[in-house]
């Protein structure tokens, strides 16, 4: 597979809306919001229901999210015993995370301060290291190909997905486990984001609303199983959809703020569409980065105009963060899954909380209720194989922009 699409054969998610990818999509579609008291916490998540006492003790919360999401994805992909149906050396894993195991790290720093170096937990590093999730998944699922983590803040897991596509196209693997997870709702990290001026003062996530005042921190994880399409077909797997394109760019403008004109972000969107062989007019749905910050939502609106031209005013755009908040390194994967399920479900979930339009933001952000996905021709005109086409964008602190194109 030197070019073309990767088959998506399994997805899994743990989010503030609950456990499971379908739970994420269905509850969002129904307008349920998982944000409470100014954060998106996965309150119902109890790792002891899914993992042994030893596994729970040896994993930070972000690894637990990713582990459970990966199990769901592997089950859906029909990986018997959760092990890949390929030569283990031909199965890779690339996962996004921004900060890693912050709770253990800071707890143990306090132990160091209070009780000295000999009291520091010997498992501090293996449990908190940002690459802990791919390491744990390799033990759980038995793959032996390349594995690593990508840290690019809010774009981490979108970049991981893009890297998975590249690996399949370069025939470095038959299947790649991609996605990401984050769990950094600790007082220290929340304070650090707050003092950087990023967090919502009201505790409300209202993407594209005139009253928006910052993002709502969240936790969660999402995993996708990507396979070479012919190999997936060859083993009789159900193909849920396709990852057909990836594009990325870097603002080179500011450490945290996006460039308002959206030119560089827009370039990533166009690159992704070019990579997928899609014209802007073919995009049926945009899953926005949509953070609810003043700067992002304006820059993203401009980026969509740069990339899609007049079609930016036609295509429905909605923000998953409006119901789950911003899980940083997990966000891109959770949103890619939500995008896939939107295409499969045929219903575009709304941007919840968007009630007061901003006159500078003049696109169709799907306020209020869900709407039907625009109909596509069964085949031929404007639709390769009659598939619906969507983009999911991630724009990060650091100016890292990553966009994936998903079809179903």
């Amino acid at each position: 597979m030197s070019e073309g699409s990767a088959a998506i054969t399994g997805v899994g998610a743990v989010t503030p809306l609950g456990i499971g990818a379908d739970t994420l999509y269905e509850r969002w579609r129904d307008g349920v919001c998982g944000i409470e008291d100014g954060v998106g916490r996965c309150d119902g998540f109890d790792p002891a229901q899914f993992m042994s006492r030893k596994q729970v003790r040896r994993t930070e919360r972000f690894v637990q999210f990713g582990t459970i999401a990966a199990r769901e994805a592997a089950d859906q992909a029909g990986w018997e015993g959760d092990e890949p149906p390929y030569d283990p050396h031909r199965v890779a894993c690339v996962l996004g995370v921004s900060l890693g195991g912050t709770q253990v790290l800071f707890d143990q720093y306090q132990t160091l301060e209070q009780d000295g170096s000999d009291a520091v937990w010997p498992l501090t590093i293996p449990v908190s290291m940002p690459n802990a999730l791919p390491a744990v998944l390799a033990i759980a699922h038995g793959f032996r190909g390349e594995s690593r983590s990508i840290a690019s803040a809010c774009s981490s897991s979108a970049q991981a997905i893009g890297e998975g596509l590249r690996m399949l196209r370069q025939d470095e693997a038959d299947a790649v486990i991609v996605g990401g997870a984050e769990a950094c709702l600790t007082p220290f990290i929340l304070a650090a984001f707050k003092m950087a001026g990023a967090l919502s003062r009201s505790g409300q996530c209202r993407p594209f609303d005139e009253r928006r005042d910052g993002f709502v921190m969240a936790e969660g994880g999402g995993i996708l199983i990507l396979e070479q399409e012919d190999k997936a077909r060859g083993r009789g797997a159900e193909i849920l959809g396709y990852l057909s394109g990836y594009g990325a760019s870097t603002d080179g403008y500011h450490l945290t703020a996006p460039a308002e004109d959206g030119e560089i972000c827009g370039h990533a969107i166009r690159s992704a569409l070019d990579d997928a062989g899609r014209a802007p007019e073919e995009v049926d749905y945009v899953n926005a980065h949509g953070t609810s910050t003043e700067a992002n939502d304006l820059a993203e609106t401009n980026a969509l105009k740069v990339a899609l031209g007049g079609h930016a005013h036609e295509v429905p755009i909605s923000s998953t963060k409006s119901v789950v908040g911003h899980s940083i390194g997990g966000a891109g994967a959770i949103e890619a899954i939500a995008t896939l399920l939107t295409l499969r479900g045929g219903v575009v979930p709304p941007t919840v909380g968007l009630e007061v339009p901003d006159e500078d933001l003049d696109l169709n952000y799907v306020p209020g209720d869900s709407i039907p996905l625009p109909e596509r021709p069964a085949n031929g005109d404007g639709g390769r194989d009659g598939r619906a086409v969507a983009i999911s964008s991630s724009f990060a602190f650091g100016g890292h922009n990553a966009v994936v194109v998903i079809e179903a």
Partner: protein, 84 residues
């Protein structure tokens, strides 16, 4: 360095079992014949155990002493040997 009173063999043996259960080993499977592999006890557990024995009893555990250890009984023999 603070000098600590060495525990009795019985007390230290009980503390070792307690620690391994705390690390996640199945208490039902604990027996001298049980292999560390069956109990899912690995080198990270031994580092934790070494830390506990050092913190609580001032015992310095040498990881090299565990190279040939296969069973829980073997491990206990090595660890109790530090009391001599």
């Amino acid at each position: 360095m603070e000098l600590k009173t060495p525990p009795s063999a019985e007390k230290m043996g009980a503390r070792i079992l307690e620690a391994l259960v705390e690390f996640g080993a199945d208490p039902e499977m604990m027996s001298p014949e049980a292999t560390l592999e069956d109990l899912e006890i690995d080198s990270l557990d031994m580092f934790e155990l070494a830390q506990i024995l050092h913190q609580e009893y001032g015992i310095e555990v040498n990881p090299d002493d565990f190279e040939d250890v296969k069973t829980l009984g073997d491990a206990q023999q090595v660890l109790l040997g530090y009391l001599k």
